[in-house]
């Protein structure tokens, strides 16, 4: 059943998001071709119209990178609002599937689409750089050389950082969903209440992080690397990041439980 929920969730989100992502990549492609074409020649100086068009294209491109992230955000929230807390809830919550499954699937697919969104932006920027004459071959060679020089534990560090970014995304999504599931119990001020609850969650999260930091500080300074070598530094950072990841997982779990409770017991479908 979980698999089927995933299938429909992906379907619903991709039909709105994928066209936008393709559009962004197309804009990047057009722009990079245009750039490559005008690079190294003085054609822009000669034709002000062309220069203007180029400027507009570039602006559009930059705007589209921001827009795609905002659009992803809006689509994800709209989906949760309509499908879990709105009219479609009459269909979804009468399926022989637990509320926890519904919410889990939504968190995971939203995270995946955020990752895709980030990847699209990175690819778009890379395409632009290619247009500007970046030599990827040379860059990769330099990178390969550099990798040999990196201190041990770097890859773990990168993995930790990646996990942290994913968890941070999931945490953000979960806190929005939880805020909405609480806010929507109100009859007349759903959106305002949701924003209010979200801010509350944000404040509590901050307070907890600060508190934890205060508690951890003495322990951390005790175990701070004695030598300032890169390896010891890397080890320290890894522990630090792992700690943050554990904290994030715990926060996600707590919010998930709260969200499930409200969706199961306090559902307020109109």
């Amino acid at each position: 059943m979980l698999g089927k929920l995933f299938k429909y969730e992906f379907k619903a989100l991709s039909r709105k998001l994928i066209p936008f992502y393709i559009l962004v990549l197309l804009l990047a492609l057009i722009h990079s071709v245009f750039t490559g074409f005008t690079q190294g020649s003085d054609i822009l100086k000669d034709y002000t119209m062309l220069a203007l068009a180029y400027g507009v294209m570039f602006s559009l491109f930059v705007i589209s990178l921001f827009a795609v992230s905002i659009f992803t955000f809006i689509v994800i929230i709209q989906r949760f609002s309509r499908n879990t807390l709105g009219k479609e809830g009459y269909l979804m919550h009468t399926l022989p599937v637990s509320a926890a499954s519904h919410i889990l699937v939504k968190i995971v697919t939203a995270t995946v689409f955020y990752i895709i969104d980030a990847a699209i932006c990175v690819i778009a920027v890379l395409m632009l750089s290619a247009g500007m004459g970046a030599n990827f071959g040379r860059m990769l060679e330099a990178a390969a050389e550099g990798i040999k020089e990196l201190p041990p534990g770097t890859f773990i560090f990168i993995a930790n950082a990646a996990v942290m970014m994913i968890l941070a995304t999931s945490y953000s999504i979960t806190s929005i969903y939880t805020a909405m599931s609480i806010g929507y119990t109100s009859n007349s001020h759903k959106i305002a209440s949701s924003i209010g609850v979200y801010l509350l969650i944000y404040v509590i999260h901050n307070m907890l992080s600060q508190a934890l930091l205060q508690i951890m500080m003495p322990a951390l300074t005790k175990h701070a690397p004695a030598d300032i070598g890169a390896a010891a530094y890397m080890k320290f950072m890894n522990l630090w990041f792992m700690g943050i990841n554990v904290f994030l997982i715990a926060m996600i779990a707590v919010l998930f439980a709260v969200c499930c409770y409200f969706v199961k017991n306090k559902l307020n479908l109109e």
Partner: protein, 233 residues
């Protein structure tokens, strides 16, 4: 197989000071078509929502086939809500597939046959359908399940008389001795003939519970006429 498919025990639902359901208790056996009749705001929809796990009661409980409301009951209960709940962007064939995917007792063949009879094309997107056709599609999907309990909330609200007849015919055709259909409505004249039993509900309480024929013999009037008397404004 147990005889009692639905039982309601001291079911109460309060919203602050407002009591939507007031210690409701009744049982329904298999193989009957039951009318839940009452004016707007009498608690019909609240009762159905609780039976489907969309609301939690303040006190009391509902048991379906002896089970408390949960994923177990959801797989044997087919619900037609009062409003349009299907995703507007899906095509008709995608909606059929959706029901197939989640309900083991769904018959795609039955659904496709009924949809075909109405001339509804499988590639049509739900949002392009007229209101009447949307209602029919929702009903067809609900009745194409081989469920043990059907809960239909105002299945005939807002549609023309010919569509109402179609809906009633579909309900009769879907009848089986194994399952029970509960229809909540205030359009009683149309629905009366297909009902076995009627429950009059007012302000969250059952005020009358009897068979249609008993009411007609004892009162000498139709259920519709009796309703108008009982709920006179």
């Amino acid at each position: 197989m147990s005889e009692i498919i639905f039982s309601c025990n001291a079911l109460t639902k309060k919203y602050g000071k407002n009591t939507a359901l007031d210690s409701l208790s009744f049982e329904l056996g298999r193989g009957s078509i039951v009318g839940l009749l009452g004016p707007n705001g009498s608690g019909k929809t609240t009762l159905m929502k609780i039976a489907n796990g969309l609301l939690q009661p303040t006190e009391g409980e509902i048991k379906i086939k002896g089970m408390p409301v949960g994923t177990g009951t959801k797989s044997i209960v087919s619900y037609l809500p009062d409003c349009m709940s299907l995703p507007e962007w899906m095509r008709i064939r995608e909606l059929v597939k959706f029901y197939c995917d989640f309900y083991a007792d769904f018959s795609a063949q039955k659904a496709e046959e009924m949809l075909g009879n109405l001339g509804l094309e499988s590639e049509t997107r739900f949002k392009t359908l007229s209101k009447g056709n949307k209602e029919k599609v929702q009903l067809i999907l609900t009745m194409s399940r081989n469920a043990e309990l059907y809960l239909l909330d105002e299945p005939m609200g807002g549609v023309d008389p010919a569509t109402r007849d179609y809906i009633l015919d579909t309900i009769i055709a879907g009848y089986s001795e194994n399952s029970t259909v509960v229809i909540s409505t205030h359009l009683i004249a149309d629905v009366e003939k297909i009902l076995d039993t009627v429950l009059f509900i007012d302000k969250g309480r059952i005020v009358r519970s009897d068979s249609v024929d008993n009411i007609r013999s004892n009162e000498g009037k139709s259920v519709d006429a009796l309703f108008r008397e009982v709920f006179r404004c």
